[in-house]
C-alpha cells in the first residue's frame, strides 16, 4: 500500500509554533452571532424569539428537514436580534445574536451517560442529531446523516481523518494530543453506528505528538494489545495492527486530508468520480467531529464550542483556543499584542482552501478550524503570465485533471468541452494554482467554469 496518492504539492508547513502549546481555555465573548445555516443542507428554524433568555447549550433552532442540523445557544444571555448577516463564506444567512450581561453562568452542563456503547444505534444517532453535530473538517455535512447510510450500502471501514494537511492549521493536531482518549471513544461510537469492523486513525508523519498520543489512547482501550514503539514512524508504515483500530501514518502532502485521497492512501480504493466514499464501503470523519460525538454521547453536551487556530505571519504567537460557536473573529484577536503587524488579508480556514474575508467581524461556525492573518508579500498575487506547458499542474492535481487544458477551455468559454475534460471533478484544493510557475490563477478559472456550467444547466 502506498500511504499516498497521485499528485499533490508540498507547501511549507509553518505549523510548529502553535502545535507545541496547549489549547487556550474557552473564550467567552460578550456577544455571539450564531448562523442558523452552518451546515450543508437546509437551514435550521429558530425556536426562540427576540428577548428570550437562553442558557449555554440550549436549543435555539431545530433542523428543518432530514439534511439539516440543530443549533444551540453557545453562551448564556438574551437573544437580542434574529436577522440576516454575512458569514465567512460570504453567504447571507439568518443568524441569532445572543448578548450576555456578564453575570450569567457560562458553563455548558454535562450529564454523564453510562456505557453508551450498549445503547441501540438508533438512540445514539438521535443523540448525535440532537447535539447538532456536523462535519468539522470544513464541509459541515450533518453527521447523523453521514452515519446512517442505507442498509444496502454496508460500511466496512471508518477512517478518522487527522491528516490536517492545510499548512498553518494545528487545531486537529492539538485536539488529538490533548483529548486523545475522547477522540478514540468518539471513533468507537462512529464504528458502532455504522457497523464497521475496523477503523484507521490517519495522521500525517509530521505530527508525531498526535501519533503518539492517539497510540497511548488506544493502548488503554481494552480490546487492543499494543506493541512497544521504539522508532520514528515512516510514511507507509502501519504502526500497530491492534484490535480493530489501526494507526495509519501518512506521507505529509497536500491535500492528504481530502476524502478521496485519504481513502486511496490507506485502502488503495478508488472512489468513483461521481460517487461517494460509501460506494467503496468507507466513511471518513474528522477528529474534531469524533470529539464532538464523544461529548454528545458520553456527556450529553451539544456542539457549541470547538478548537480554532489563530495563526499566520501577522500573529505574534500563533495559538489554538476553545471558542464558542458564533464568536466573532475580531473578538478572539481583540487582545492587544495579538498581531506583530496589521493584517492585510484575513483567511478563514487554511491558506490553501480558506476564504478571504472582507471584515474580521465574521462569526466562527462549526466547520471553521482556524484563521490565517497575512501581510505584505504573501498576499501578493504575482502577475499572471503565459502557460509554458510545464505540466506541473497535471503532476499536482490529485484528481488527475489537466488544469491547463481546462483553463484554456474556460477562457474561451468552451464550457461543454471543459465539462468533457472533467472540470466538475475539481474539488478546488488549489494545488494547481499553488504550483503554477507562470502564476496563472488556475483555481479562479476552475471555479468560474464550474459555476458557469452549473448556471447554464439550470437554465436548460
Amino acid at each position: 500500500m502506498s500511504r499516498s496518492f497521485y499528485g499533490g504539492v508540498h507547501p511549507p508547513a509553518s505549523t510548529t509554533i502553535a502545535s507545541d502549546r496547549p489549547i487556550r481555555r474557552v473564550f467567552i465573548p460578550k456577544k455571539v452571532i450564531i448562523p442558523l445555516s452552518q451546515h450543508t443542507g437546509s437551514p435550521a428554524e429558530p425556536v426562540v424569539g427576540v428577548g428570550a433568555s437562553v442558557k449555554a447549550g440550549e436549543l435555539i433552532a431545530k433542523p428543518s428537514g432530514y439534511i439539516s442540523a440543530a443549533v444551540h445557544a453557545s453562551i448564556s444571555g438574551k437573544v437580542s436580534k434574529i436577522a440576516y448577516s454575512h458569514t465567512h463564506n460570504q453567504a447571507r444567512v439568518l443568524c441569532v445574536t445572543i448578548e450576555s450581561s456578564g453575570s450569567e453562568d457560562q458553563e455548558v452542563k454535562a450529564r454523564a451517560v453510562e456505557n453508551p456503547l450498549l445503547l441501540p444505534t438508533e438512540e445514539i444517532l438521535n443523540m448525535i442529531r440532537d447535539a447538532g453535530i456536523v462535519g468539522m473538517g470544513g464541509a459541515a455535512f450533518p453527521t447523523h446523516v453521514k452515519l446512517s447510510p442505507p442498509k444496502t450500502r454496508p460500511v466496512d471501514t471508518v477512517i478518522l481523518n487527522g491528516a490536517e494537511c492545510e499548512p498553518y492549521l494545528t487545531c486537529d493536531q492539538r485536539l488529538m494530543v490533548e483529548k486523545s482518549k475522547a477522540v478514540a471513544r468518539g471513533l468507537e461510537i462512529i464504528m458502532k453506528t455504522l457497523g464497521a469492523k475496523r477503523a484507521f486513525i490517519a495522521v500525517e508523519d509530521n505530527k508525531l505528538a498526535a501519533i503518539y498520543a492517539m497510540e497511548r489512547a488506544l493502548e488503554k482501550t481494552e480490546d487492543i494489545k499494543p506493541k512497544t514503539v521504539t522508532h520514528r514512524p515512516k510514511p507507509g508504515e502501519y504502526r500497530r495492527e491492534a484490535g480493530s483500530i489501526t494507526m495509519a501514518v501518512l506521507k505529509t502532502k497536500y491535500p492528504q486530508g481530502a476524502e478521496r485521497q485519504i481513502i486511496k492512501a490507506i485502502l488503495g480504493r478508488v472512489v468513483p468520480a461521481e460517487g461517494l466514499p460509501i460506494d467503496v464501503g468507507c466513511v471518513v470523519q474528522n477528529v474534531a467531529t469524533a470529539y464532538a460525538i464523544y461529548e454528545a454521547v458520553y456527556l450529553s453536551r451539544p456542539l457549541v464550542e470547538r478548537v480554532v487556530t489563530i495563526t499566520g505571519p501577522c500573529v505574534r504567537e500563533p495559538f489554538n483556543q476553545w471558542v464558542r460557536v458564533g464568536t466573532l473573529l475580531s473578538d478572539i484577536t481583540a487582545a492587544s499584542g495579538t498581531f506583530v503587524k496589521e493584517p492585510k488579508k484575513v483567511i478563514v480556514g487554511g491558506p490553501m482552501m480558506g476564504a478571504a474575508q472582507y471584515s474580521m467581524d465574521v462569526p466562527i461556525s462549526k466547520g471553521v478550524g482556524g484563521a490565517v492573518f497575512m501581510s505584505g508579500e504573501e498576499i501578493d498575487r504575482a502577475r499572471e503570465s503565459v502557460c509554458i506547458r510545464c505540466g506541473k499542474c497535471i503532476e499536482a492535481c490529485p484528481m488527475e485533471l489537466v488544469p491547463t487544458t481546462l483553463m484554456y477551455r474556460v477562457k474561451k468559454e468552451m464550457l461543454p468541452e471543459a465539462k468533457e475534460f472533467g472540470i466538475n471533478n475539481c474539488y478546488e484544493c488549489g494545488a494547481c494554482a499553488y504550483t503554477c510557475p507562470a502564476k496563472i490563477p488556475l483555481l479562479d478559472y476552475m471555479k468560474y467554469g464550474k459555476a458557469k456550467i452549473a448556471s447554464l444547466e439550470r437554465k436548460i
Binding site: S385, V386, R389, M399, A438
Partner: protein, 321 residues
C-alpha cells in the same frame, strides 16, 4: 479595521518557483558546457555564443515592441536560452553572421510568429539551426578539430566518420570513450563535452525542473536500436558510442525536454522520447545525414498536439459508461 482587507480566491500561498526562475536555472545548467566548448575550441566559440544570445535578445525585444507587448518580458530568460541553445548547435568556427541570422530566425519565425512564449510549435533554437543547415550547409558541416589534435585544422565528426565507414565504429579511427566523455572530438560547441552536459542535467533533475521521462526513453531507445542495428552485424553496435558521439546528450536533456514543445503528461513524454529515439536512429542509419537529433526532435514537436490528445490522463475515479 481601518484599511480594507485584500480579498481573492485561494490558494493564498504560492510556490516560489516561477517561469523566470526555471528559465534562468536552465541557462545556468548550460554554463559548464559553454565553458568546456570555449576551452576545447578556442575563443571563437565564445564569440559565437555571445553573438547568438545578443541577437536573440535584440530580436525578442524588437518583436515584443512591434507587437505592443510588455518588453520587460525579455527578463524571463527564454530568449537568452534560445540564443544559447542555438549557439550550442553550431560548429565553433562559423562566421558571426551565422549565429546572428540563426537567432533572428529562431526568435521571429520560430517563436514570435506563433504568438511568443508558450505558443510555438517547434523548438525555436532547433528551428534556427534547421534554417542555417538548409541555407548554408557547407558552413554547418565543416568542423574544427579540438585543441588536443595537433596536426589537423578540420576534421569529420565521429558520426560522419562512422557513416563514411559504412556503419563501422569510429572507435577504430582513434577516438576513445574517454575522448567522447571529455569532448575531445570535432562537433558543435555545446554538444561535445558529455561530462559538462551531464553535470547541468543533474542540476535540473535535483531542482525537479525536468523529469526522467523524455531523456531516459530517448537515450535508451537510441542505445537499443544502435546496439541492435548500427554495428557490423546484428547486436554488435556500440550503444555507448552512439549515445555520446553526436548531439544526443544535449538534445535529450536540454532540447527535447523544452516544456512548450513537448507533451504535457508523463505518458505523453514517454511516447515523445521513444519517438525521438526511433527517428534519431532512422536518420543516422538511413538518411544522407550522419546526425539526426535536431530533425528528430523537430518532427516529434509537430506530433506533440496529437500525442497530448491521446495520452492526457483520465481523471481519478473515472468510470466508463
Amino acid at each position: 479595521m481601518s484599511k480594507p482587507l485584500a480579498v481573492s480566491i485561494g490558494p493564498h500561498i504560492k510556490d516560489p518557483v516561477s517561469t523566470k526562475k526555471i528559465m534562468w536555472a536552465v541557462v545556468a545548467s548550460l554554463a559548464p558546457a559553454a565553458a568546456a566548448g570555449v576551452f576545447i575550441f578556442g575563443l571563437n566559440s565564445l564569440y559565437v555564443i555571445i553573438a547568438a544570445v545578443a541577437a536573440a535578445i535584440a530580436a525578442e525585444t524588437a518583436v515584443l515592441s512591434i507587437r505592443k507587448k510588455d518588453v520587460g518580458a525579455i527578463r524571463d530568460g527564454s530568449a537568452v536560452l534560445t540564443g544559447l541553445l542555438l549557439a550550442y548547435n553550431l560548429p565553433p568556427q562559423v562566421p558571426l553572421w551565422m549565429p546572428i541570422s540563426g537567432s533572428i530566425f529562431a526568435i521571429v519565425i520560430g517563436k514570435q510568429v506563433f504568438g511568443g512564449l508558450g505558443h510555438n510549435v517547434f523548438n525555436p533554437a532547433l528551428t534556427g539551426r534547421a534554417f542555417l543547415m538548409i541555407s548554408w550547409p557547407v558552413y554547418m558541416t565543416t568542423w574544427q578539430a579540438p585543441r588536443w589534435a595537433p596536426d589537423a585544422v578540420t576534421r569529420a565528426t565521429p558520426l560522419a566518420v562512422c557513416k563514411a565507414g559504412g556503419g563501422e565504429c569510429a572507435m577504430l579511427k582513434g577516438v576513445t570513450y574517454l575522448d567522447l566523455l571529455l569532448g575531445n572530438r570535432p562537433g558543435c560547441i555545446g554538444e561535445v563535452c558529455v561530462i559538462a552536459l551531464l553535470l547541468g542535467a543533474a542540476f535540473l533533475f535535483i531542482k525537479r525542473y525536468i523529469t526522467w521521462h523524455i531523456p531516459f526513453t530517448y537515450i535508451a531507445t537510441v542505445a537499443l536500436f544502435s546496439w541492435v542495428f548500427n554495428g557490423p552485424a546484428l547486436f554488435k553496435g556500440s550503444a555507448v558510442f552512439f549515445v555520446m558521439a553526436g548531439g544526443l546528450i544535449l538534445g535529450a536533456f536540454f532540447m527535447a525536454t523544452d516544456y512548450v514543445t513537448s507533451p504535457l503528461s508523463a505518458r505523453g513524454k514517454v511516447v515523445f522520447g521513444i519517438g525521438c529515439g526511433v527517428l534519431t536512429f532512422l536518420i543516422r542509419r538511413f538518411s544522407g545525414y550522419p546526425e539526426g537529433v535536431s530533425y528528430a526532435i523537430l518532427i516529434m514537436n509537430a506530433m506533440t498536439p496529437m500525442i497530448d490528445r491521446y495520452t492526457l490522463p483520465k481523471w481519478f475515479g473515472f468510470v466508463k459508461r
